[in-house]
């Protein structure tokens, strides 16, 4: 039997399975119908077709409210949910039953709290993971999918859809996906994009670069440049870690300052130029700086202004 025949056979089974489930819900169904259904079920392939439908129905049953709302989010403890979202969800629920015309772009705002990661499940199966304190704005319709990273860091897993390009706007640059997984870090000074899978185009006012897996682009002031990196390092924050390979201490401290409320400064140039390789667990500034002391010839002092790191 060719593969096409097998597929066609499977499709017929699914059709029959659907017909059985509907027929047996009808009040007219008889004991003879159930007996016939039992005979039909003795074929394991038929049972599989029934299971496929029932497991999908179980998902519907477990997420009833989701089937009236356009976007679902998994909230971390204390995460914010905007009132706008709730209102839109209700409006969308009404829309679903009243009129099913193509919807205009819907917009959503997401913010991660300062102490937790937030994962947003996109309606097309993709995900948006916001790092601590990140804020993103989403515009969603059947023709366009756009995310604006207002601040902080976010990892995207984008399902390619040629009818609805996925774009990300982060400060001075725009990203356009080709079906991919990438991380975007926006700091006051620069935007860094790291691609783990697939490819995307990153554009500044001046030029466009095509990035593929393992490429990292940095837009710093007016310059846009790229280099090769260990892309998975850029995603480690999702597991609560920061990974460095021969990074200057100044870059490490810049990262730590994104995670803690206590400002950390480096007192001398020699210390700033030290190179660090290793893994830091995201924790309080004091814990993370003391970890650095264990690896580098530095000491940290706590004062009223924060933490100061100097050579020792």
């Amino acid at each position: 039997m060719s593969r096409n025949d097998a597929n066609a056979g499977h499709s017929e089974r699914r059709q029959a399975a659907a017909a059985w489930l509907v027929r047996l819900e009808n009040d007219e169904a008889t004991g003879a119908d159930w007996a016939a259904f039992e005979r039909w079920l003795t074929d394991p392939e038929n049972r599989k077709a029934i299971d496929e439908i029932e497991s999908a129905l179980a998902i519907v049953d477990d997420h009833r409210s989701a089937f009236a709302a356009p976007l679902r989010t998994k909230r971390s403890g204390g995460a914010l949910r905007t009132g706008v979202f709730a209102t839109l969800a209700m409006a969308a629920a009404v829309l679903l039953f009243v009129e099913l015309q193509p919807a205009p772009a819907r917009t959503f705002d997401y913010a991660a709290p300062s102490n937790a990661v937030r994962i947003v499940q996109l309606p097309d199966g993709g995900t948006l993971t916001l790092n601590r304190s990140a804020v993103a704005h989403l515009q969603w319709s059947s023709a366009q999918r756009r995310a604006i990273l207002i601040r902080g860091e976010a990892a995207f897993r984008v399902i390619h859809n040629e009818n609805a390009p996925f774009t990300v706007i982060a400060g001075p640059i725009e990203l356009r996906d080709i079906g991919t997984e990438f991380n975007v870090l926006r700091t006051p000074g620069a935007v860094t994009v790291t691609v783990r899978e697939g490819a995307l185009d990153v554009s500044s006012a001046a030029k466009t670069l095509r990035l593929s897996a393992g490429d990292q682009a940095t837009a710093d002031g007016g310059r846009l440049s790229s280099r090769r990196v260990h892309a998975e390092d850029a995603f480690a924050w999702r597991d609560g870690r920061l990974i460095y390979r021969d990074a200057p201490l100044s870059a490490v401290v810049a990262d730590l300052n994104r995670y803690g409320a206590t400002p950390i400064t480096i007192a001398d140039r020699a210390a700033a130029a030290l190179r660090f390789s290793g893994v830091l667990v995201i924790d309080t500034p004091a814990t993370m700086t003391s970890r650095l002391e264990a690896f580098l010839p530095v000491r940290s002092e706590h004062n009223a202004a924060g933490i100061v790191i100097r050579s020792r």
């Binding site: 059709q15 179980a58 519907v60 937790a116 609560g240 309080t284």
Partner: protein, 174 residues
Amino acid sequence: MADTDSPASPLLAFYLGKRGDLVRFFTLRTSSPAEAEDIVQDIYVKIAKHAETPDNPAAYLYRLGANVMIDRARARRRSSARDDTYSRAFRVETPAGEVTVDAPDPDAAIDARQRLARVMAVVDAMPPQRRRVFLMHKIEGVAYADIGARLGISQSAVEKHMIAALKSLADQRP
């Protein structure tokens, strides 16, 4: 000890005669003889006080059992989701506040969300009338006949929409 000699209600008598068939059927449906026994026992509990005999007692018992089966599966999913939340929740206590990563097992959590997203995409892609029928029945719990009356279509048209809806749900599985 009154009534010990009185016959069971007709439905109960019918159930007792049908018990073996029901166990066999639900063993086939659940792949578990123990689960089937529990379901058939639950049917008994539900009909024990039932005074009237439905028109079609066999179909009634099977449908009752099918509902019990779905309820039990749902209860299991809920309790396992709760267990997962407790056992896999990943919390780091720090003086600065609690760091909570809300996907302790990001891949598993993402898988579950992807399955949900796929099902939602199928529902979104249904033609409007089919989606309306499907959601009225599955979310609002409206019976086929009442859906037909509300939408001004025949019950058989409602059933055709439901069959197409269920088929498309099966088709989204890889």
